[in-house]
C-alpha cells in the first residue's frame, strides 16, 4: 500500500515538474525544425511546405527577429524618376521615396531585382522564392536615417504573361531588440504588424502570385547581418488585430521578448570570445537602441 502511494505521489510530482518545465514549450508555438536560427547564415530553410505553404489564399506568417549587428547604411539610396508609366527598375521615386510596381519583361523579373551585393544598401533577410521577400537597410545614427528602412517585395501579376514587382514599405526593424513581425495577406492587401501594433496596411496594384512548387520554402539569413530570427508560424487564414494581439501575448513576455527555450541550458557558460585576454583591445559596448550613438568611457 505504502509503495503504491509512494509511486502515485512520485508520478504526480513528475507530471507537475514536466508541466512546469515544458510548459513554455507548449506555450511557444512555432513551426520548422528549430525555434531560432542564426541570422548571419544565408539561405537557411526554416519552413517547408509540409509545415506551411504561402499561397494566394489568405495567410498569415509570424516570426520574431533580433538584429544584433548590421551593415552601416549610407543616407542616400539609388532612386529613379518615376515619370514613366511603369518603371523598369525596382527603385524608389526620388520625389518621395515611394515604390511603384516594377514591370518585369514578361515573366522575367531580372531587371526588377534589388542589388544584394555589398554596395547595395538593402539586404534580403527572408524570402519565399521571388514571391515574397523581406529586405532591410542597415542602421545609421539618429541624424542619418535611411530613406527606405525596410520593405516587403512582392511578385504580382496582371496575367500569365505579365508580372510585376511591388513594394510594401515598412518601418525600421529595431536594433538589438526582439521584434515579432506578423505579415497578413488577404487578396491584394498586406497588413504588417510589429508586435501587436499594425504598422502598415497596403494593397498591391495586382494580385500576388502563387509561388511555384520550387519556391515554397521560407529561407532566412544574410551574412552581413547578425542576430537571431525564429518563432516561425504560418497559418492559412487572415489574422486580424485581436488575433495578432493574442498571439503576441502568447509568445512574448512583458518586455516583448519571446519565450525562447534554450535547448542547452549550459550554453550560458560558453566561454567569452577572448577568454585569455582582450583580443582587440576595444571594449565590447553595444548601444541600447538603434538611434543612440555609440558611447564608451574609453577614449
Amino acid at each position: 500500500m505504502f509503495l503504491e502511494v509512494f509511486l502515485f505521489v512520485g508520478a504526480l510530482l513528475l507530471i507537475l515538474y514536466l508541466s512546469l518545465r515544458y510548459g513554455r514549450y507548449i506555450k511557444t508555438q512555432y513551426q520548422g525544425p528549430k525555434q531560432t536560427y542564426d541570422l548571419s547564415i544565408p539561405e537557411t530553410t526554416v519552413i517547408t511546405p509540409t509545415d506551411f505553404t504561402w499561397t494566394l489564399a489568405p495567410c498569415t506568417l509570424r516570426f520574431a527577429i533580433y538584429v544584433d549587428a548590421s551593415p552601416k547604411t549610407v543616407m542616400t539610396v539609388d532612386c529613379i524618376d518615376h515619370k514613366a508609366e511603369a518603371p523598369e527598375k525596382f527603385a524608389p521615386d526620388c520625389a518621395n521615396y515611394s515604390y511603384r510596381p516594377c514591370k518585369c519583361m514578361g515573366t522575367d523579373c531580372g531587371r526588377c531585382a534589388l542589388d544584394s551585393s555589398d554596395s547595395g544598401h538593402m539586404s534580403k533577410l527572408l524570402s519565399i522564392g521571388e514571391y515574397v521577400q523581406l529586405w532591410a537597410s542597415g542602421y545609421t545614427n539618429q541624424n542619418d536615417k535611411p530613406y527606405v528602412p525596410a520593405l516587403l517585395k512582392i511578385r504580382t501579376g496582371l496575367d500569365s504573361g505579365q508580372h510585376y514587382m511591388e513594394a510594401i514599405p515598412l518601418p525600421t526593424i529595431p536594433l538589438q531588440k526582439w521584434t515579432m513581425i506578423t505579415i497578413v495577406k488577404e487578396g491584394r492587401r498586406f497588413d504588417v504588424y510589429y508586435g501587436a501594433k499594425l504598422q502598415i496596411s497596403k494593397m498591391t496594384t495586382y494580385p500576388p502570385l502563387n509561388p511555384d512548387s520550387g519556391s515554397q520554402n521560407i529561407t532566412v539569413g544574410n551574412k552581413k547581418w547578425g542576430g537571431l530570427i525564429g518563432m516561425f508560424k504560418g497559418t492559412n487564414g487572415a489574422s486580424y488585430a485581436p488575433e495578432v494581439q493574442a498571439d503576441a501575448h502568447t509568445i512574448l513576455d512583458t518586455r516583448g521578448i519571446p519565450y525562447i527555450n534554450d535547448p542547452l541550458p549550459w550554453s550560458a557558460f560558453v566561454l567569452p570570445k577572448c577568454f585569455f585576454g582582450n583580443c582587440t583591445g576595444l571594449p565590447d559596448v553595444k548601444p541600447p537602441n538603434q538611434f543612440m550613438v555609440y558611447q564608451t568611457n574609453y577614449s
Binding site: P49, T53, T55, L56, A57, P58, G157, L158, D159, S160, E186, G187, R188, R189, M203, T205, Y206, P207, L209, N210
Partner: protein, 271 residues
Amino acid sequence: MLVVINYTVTPIFSFYPGSPGVIPVPGITNDLVFWKDKTQPAFSDPVPKKDDKLYGTSYIKMFSFGIDLYVRELATSNASTRLILYKAGAPIPAPSKIDATFTGDSFINYMKKRSSMIMYLTDTNDLVITFFSGSKQYNTAPIKNIPLYTPFRITLVVEDKMFTTYLNSKQVFQRLVPESIAMPSDGTSGMQLFYSSPEWTNNPRHSIYVQNFHLWSRPISYKEVISARPALALDKDFGLSPDAATPCSSDSSSIVAASKAVANTVTGLLN
C-alpha cells in the same frame, strides 16, 4: 376581420420576407435559385428557364439577384475578359480576335452592344457591375480586393433609378442615376435573361466560379438580403478542390469538358 384590416388599415400579413406585416404567410415567393447543384453552369447558361415561374419577367429596372463567387488565381486568365455574369437577349459569341490589343475598354465596348448588364473583374481583383441603359453606361464603384480562394456573396438590388450592391450582405455601394434604368438603345433586345460567363472569357484557365444564383423579380429589402437562403456556398460547393497548393488542372479540365457538353445540349435545344 384581419384580412379587412390588412387591406384597409395597416398590413397584418407579411407576404414575403421584409414586407410589412407581422404574420408571415409562407408559400408566396417570387424568387428562384439557380446554379445550386455544386457544379459549374454550362457556358452562357441562361436563367430563368422557360418553365420557371420567373420566366417572362422584364429584368430591366426592378429586380434583384444574389450570387456566390469563388475566385482563384487570376493570373491564369486574360485580364481583359474576366466576365462573371451578363444579362442579354441571347448568348454573346466570342469577339473575332482576342489578343494583346483587346483591352478592358475593348471588352466593355464589345459587351455594350450585346448586353444590358455585365458583372466582371477589372484587370485586378476589383469587381464592377455595369448597366447599359439607353445610350448611357452606369457603373458601380469597384468593390476593391474581393476575396481570393474564399467564397463570398454579391447581391444587387435594382429599383428604378437606383442600384445597390452588397458584399456578404453588407452594403458596399449605392447609386442614384438621373433616369430609370432602361434597355440599351443600340444593343441587345428581346427578353433579357441572365447568362453565366461564356467560353471565351476567363481563358486560358477559368479562375472565377459561381454558385447559388438567387433571382428575384422585384427589388428586395435589406432584411431579405441578409436572410436570403441558401446560405453562402462553401468552397467545396463550387465543384473544385479548394486546395490552393494544387492547381486542380484535372478538375478544371473535366469541368470545362462537362460544361462544353451541356452548352452544346443547350444550344441544340435553343436552336
